[in-house]
């Protein structure tokens, strides 16, 4: 899952790094398929070269040796809203078929069953980053027909409306382009809906169907994700996450 997400970053240039799984995926990508990847941390760092994998996204290791450290105002206003971010990498608690994301509450907002972290920067990342990568584990509880709260807009009710609104409102973002889960890789088709394009080694279509709250579209030419290479595994296990904080 982490290796697959990292590989999707090949060819990308400037990536906004989220807390959690995106953090390790992006750091793996910089060490493998995208050595020129510029890491942007919402904490106010451009061009980070973390010497170790930070647990949080505001670790001192992302500062030392970076290209530029700026205020959060500048980071959000000039880098993100100004349109310099190619890929915003987000996690999610719930996602729907159109890539709309909930990270706010499960249940009603006023009296939630589960209080989640909320937006952080996700809402403005979803709108202003040129494209959005999502990384999350999938289940009937996370891949749902209707999310309980829309924290970050995806393709709204479908591509047609989403594209019209992006155009009318002058959004720079084109919305979600990839979702990587523990079972496979999804891209978005012309209707704006998620489509399973690759299954990870060992995962089955049955598992996928049993962990999606709608009938998922599946690519005509469904492929199998190449297994993590020895080098990817070594980097993850020995260098990036020796204590298993992300991968245990």
């Amino acid at each position: 899952m982490i290796a697959a997400a990292a590989r999707e970053l090949a060819g990308q240039h400037v990536c906004f790094v989220g807390v959690g799984l995106p953090n390790i995926a992006v750091n793996l990508a910089q060490r493998t398929v995208a050595p020129d990847l510029e890491l942007v941390y919402e904490a106010g760092v451009f061009g980070a070269r973390p010497a170790r994998l930070p647990l949080s996204i505001g670790d001192p290791t992302i500062v030392t040796g970076s290209t530029a450290v700026v205020s959060m105002h500048e980071l959000f206003a000039f880098y993100l809203q100004g349109g310099l971010i190619d890929v915003g990498f987000l996690g999610a608690a719930q996602i729907d078929r159109y890539g709309n994301i909930n990270t706010t509450v499960i249940g009603e907002y006023a009296r939630p069953r589960t209080r989640l972290p909320g937006s952080g920067g996700a809402c403005e990342i979803a709108i202003n980053a040129r494209q959005i990568f999502v990384i999350m584990r999938q289940s009937k509880r996370s891949f749902v027909e209707a999310i309980d709260f829309r924290t970050s807009p995806g393709n709204l009710g479908g591509a047609e409306r989403a594209e019209r609104i992006r155009r009318e409102q002058g959004w720079l973002g084109r919305g979600p382009s990839v979702v990587v889960t523990d079972l496979g890789i999804y891209h978005f088709d012309e209707t704006g809906e998620m489509r399973l394009d690759a299954l990870h080694p060992g995962a089955t279509l049955e598992q996928v169907r049993a962990s999606v709250g709608w009938v998922p579209r599946v690519a005509a030419e469904l492929v199998t994700t190449p297994a993590p290479t020895a080098e990817e595994l070594r980097l993850i296990r020995d260098e990036l996450d020796p204590e298993g904080a992300y991968t245990a």
């Binding site: 647990l55 206003a77 009296r111 069953r113 952080g120 829309r150 970050s152 409102q169």
Partner: protein, 309 residues
């Protein structure tokens, strides 16, 4: 510039009042736990706590009963999990008939914009966020505003002017001129927006040190009411160049936060039971302090401003 150096006890006693809106800012970096603990010790009440990321410090403060409301944008223990003392005051099943903690919720840029509008005395701050989300419904203070140039709509957030802002910095002089390197967060904006400002530093330096590098000054003593010298005052958060983030503490917090009794015992041991940060640091002990020492030095190198007489 007159000296403003005082103790944390006096600074909090004098400048933080029941009912105040308090912002202890710092984005992972420079979070002043020492000030939060002193506020708990002095049993302040009905505070409105503002921070982008409430972090462990507001989990502790909410658990200690100092807060009536939270203004925030991301509620969690970064890379670890939840802030359970706060969640217990929000989630339906935990609450029963108890009134919930009031929450007022934005995005990160929304919170930064609120402080910026507060600092700049503007009635609103416009940003490109919130479109087609449920956030403006959840928080009616997030409002659309039409551009006077064409039909474009953006969203606005209102100014946030805390009664008190606490800013932790690497160093300041006795007048409160404070300098920071590494992550800057939005402490500058929060401080300029606030009515009263407490600066807490690792080191007190001569005014000449500040004046030797004026581009590093993040806030001038002009807006500062008190300067507190409190080494390790940001632990378990960190201070660039001084000590590392104590990730072990953040991980250890998870089970404590989940268990109300464990949390109260922790507060007894580490907050109520101690006179202040000096005792806290002694209790951490030399091994723990050694574990968060930077692995080496990484000097910036000097630049020359030139003398012009």
């Amino acid at each position: 510039m007159s000296g403003k150096v005082t103790t944390m006890r006096d600074a909090v006693a004098e400048l933080v009042r029941d009912g105040d809106t308090v912002a202890i800012e710092g984005f992972t970096h420079l979070i002043c736990f020492a000030a939060g603990h002193e506020i708990i010790r002095q049993r302040k009440r009905d505070l409105v706590l503002a921070r982008l990321t409430p972090d462990l410090i507001y989990d502790q403060m909410v658990a200690a009963g100092v807060a009536r409301k939270l203004i925030f944008s991301w509620l969690g223990n970064p890379g670890v999990g939840g802030l359970y003392a706060i969640r217990r005051r929000i989630e339906a099943a935990e609450l029963g008939d108890e009134p919930p903690l009031e929450v007022e919720e934005y995005s990160h840029f929304g919170m930064v914009g609120r402080y910026t509008a507060g600092a700049a005395n503007l009635p609103f701050y416009p940003l490109r966020s919130y479109f087609e989300t449920d956030l403006p419904k959840a928080n009616p203070l997030i409002r659309p505003v039409r551009s006077p140039y064409g039909d474009e709509i953006v969203y606005a957030v209102p100014p946030l002017k805390p009664d008190v802002a606490v800013v932790h910095a690497q160093r300041a002089d006795a007048g409160g001129d404070a300098q920071v390197w590494g992550l800057l967060g939005c402490q500058k904006e929060a401080a300029f927006a606030a009515d009263r400002v407490i600066v807490v530093v690792e080191e007190l330096v001569d005014e000449a040190v500040v004046r030797a590098d004026p581009n590093r000054t993040i806030i001038p003593g002009l807006i500062v009411d008190a300067v507190v010298v409190e080494p390790f005052g940001a632990h378990p958060s960190y201070v660039q160049g001084y000590y590392d983030r104590d990730n072990r503490f953040y991980r250890d917090w998870d089970p404590i936060s989940r268990d109300p009794a464990a949390l109260q015992a922790w507060l007894e041991e580490w907050v109520y039971g101690l006179a202040g940060r000096e005792e806290y640091v002694a209790r951490l002990g030399p091994e723990r302090l050694a574990a968060i020492r930077p692995s080496g030095s990484a000097p910036s190198g000097p630049v020359d401003y030139g003398a012009y007489r």
